[in-house]
């Protein structure tokens, strides 16, 4: 076959989004809806799998991103929280009782949030992107890129093991906690060992739940993180935890085993049967100081857009995706080149909408986990978690 790379017309897009999780699919959707030509690629054959997430997201987060809470992806509805300290003392924050006119099951009220099925949720978001006009290629990995003289890029992809090169003005790195796109751009994306929560969860049968996200704090059960019991719908539950490895003597698996067999929940968990095993790395880190480079922006976990107190990343991913998608479409349609200087606007918009608050949360988290005295640290985490989810929390919108 003759070398025809220079003669064949390459597929051309304004934007190529690498990774179709909540951040990538939302970026693709809003960019396409605002007139950009978008290619969304993901190396997986099934989006959302293997699951690396508990799936908790607020109603408000979905609404802000224009995602209708569809039964297609909702496992269970959430109406509040139960926060425990290490001894099992608890504070219940049930919005069905605190704000009965707004939250609940009766007509005219809504759930506070949901636990979603990430396989169906991610596919749903990709469908929304596709219906807004984005093209989607699955089984497509990005392997590298070159900046061309005209300021555009050539991006090398491997699609069903066939090399394909496309042209795009901007590359969006939405490739998750293990982001490689950020590294391509020379951004320092690797997370400190002390700032990545090592998480493991089991989907179980035989554990009762009551519409609340249950959060168990305390160094004894989950050093540098917390353990959780979330409703998973149809009688199932999630039992999991995240730990900061530098504060631990063993791996997450050992801590989870101990939490199930030895904690104040041991009777409740006695008959639990494990149906799925899921894990993830959750950045409890500061957002990247610089989330853009020439021709590249990062969104979602790749940019460390994770709430450092809760470890939640769906809301922040949807939100940064919307901001990035709208910003990039506008930049491209204005005809301005995708230089670092011009792409800075994305980060500025993000800081204003949510980033500054995320920095604030990171500082709160640091202050807690930097406390050397374990008793004081446990007290602080319990108080902070209880305050965070209360009706008068200043962070309600994250």
């Amino acid at each position: 076959m003759p070398d025809s790379s220079s003669t064949i017309t390459m597929p051309e897009y304004d934007l190529v989004v690498i990774g179709s999780g909540p951040a990538g699919a939302t970026t693709a959707r809003f960019a396409a809806a605002n007139g950009a030509r978008v290619l969304l690629v993901d190396k997986k054959q099934e989006l959302g799998a293997p699951i690396q997430c508990s799936g908790a997201v607020s109603h408000n987060a979905l609404e802000q991103a224009g995602v209708y809470p569809s039964p297609e992806f909702i496992h269970d509805a959430i109406y509040g929280f139960a926060i425990y300290n290490g001894k099992g003392e608890k504070k219940i924050i049930d919005y069905r009782k605190l704000k009965p006119d707004e939250y609940g099951t009766k007509e005219g009220t809504i759930p506070l949030g949901y636990v979603v099925d990430r396989r169906r949720f991610d596919r749903y978001l990709a469908t929304q992107a596709e219906r807004a006009g984005a093209e989607i290629w699955l089984k497509t990995a990005a392997t590298g890129f070159r900046v061309m003289e005209n300021g555009s890029c050539e991006v090398d992809l491997l699609k069903f093991n066939e090399p394909v090169t496309i042209r795009a003005k901007v590359i969006v790195g939405a490739d998750g906690v293990q982001s490689q796109v950020g590294k391509w751009a020379g951004l320092k994306t690797h997370i400190k060992l002390s700032e990545l929560a090592s998480c493991l969860q089991f989907v179980v049968d035989g554990v009762e739940t009551a519409g609340l996200l249950e959060i168990v704090t305390g160094n004894e059960w989950a050093p540098g993180g917390y353990a959780w019991v979330f409703p998973k719908g149809h009688g199932y539950a999630e039992i999991g935890l995240g730990v900061t490895r530098t504060m631990c003597t063993e791996n997450a698996q050992e801590y989870l085993d101990r939490f199930i067999k030895q904690s104040f929940f041991k009777e409740r968990f006695k008959n639990c049967r494990i149906l799925e095993i899921q894990g993830g790395g959750v950045p409890l880190a500061a957002p990247l100081k610089i989330q853009y480079a020439d021709n590249i922006v990062l969104v979602g976990d790749a940019a460390r857009h994770v709430n450092s107190i809760t470890g939640g990343g769906i809301h922040t991913a949807l939100s940064s995706g919307k901001i990035a998608g709208e910003f990039l479409a506008q930049l491209i349609l204005s005809g301005k080149p995708a230089t670092k200087t011009n792409l800075k606007g994305y980060q500025d918009n993000w800081l204003k909408a949510m980033g500054n608050n995320m920095w604030k949360l990171y500082r709160v988290k640091r202050a807690i986990f930097d406390t050397v005295d374990v008793v004081k640290r446990d007290e602080q985490l319990y108080a902070t978690m209880s305050g965070y989810f209360s009706t008068d929390s200043e962070y309600k919108k994250i």
């Binding site: 293997p50 690396q52 998750g176 906690v177 293990q178 490689q180 590294k183 391509w184 690797h190 997370i191 400190k192 060992l193 990545l196 090592s198 998480c199 493991l200 490895r245 530098t246 791996n251 997450a252 698996q253 095993i277 899921q278 894990g279 993830g280 790395g281 950045p283």
Partner: protein, 71 residues
């Protein structure tokens, strides 16, 4: 736990849950990865910080010294 010499990692695929945590803490340049969202297997790592081994929720990563592998 930090070693001074280059190491080669091995992944226990039967234990690995493909969570990506090892890659997230890896200070290597882009591309020090496997096909399954883990750090590279059978490749020399001269940083040898062992963060990947430490962070793994299920302890699926082990290493050998590169020198021992070459022999």
């Amino acid at each position: 736990m930090k070693t001074k010499e280059a190491v080669v990692f091995k992944i226990a695929w039967n234990a690995c849950i493909k969570c990506g945590a090892c890659v997230a803490v890896c200070p290597q340049e882009a591309g020090f990865t496997s096909e399954f969202d883990t750090i590279a297997e059978h490749a020399a790592c001269d940083i040898a910080c062992m963060f990947c081994e430490t962070v793994c929720p299920v302890s699926a990563i082990t290493h050998k010294m590169l020198a021992a592998e070459v022999e």
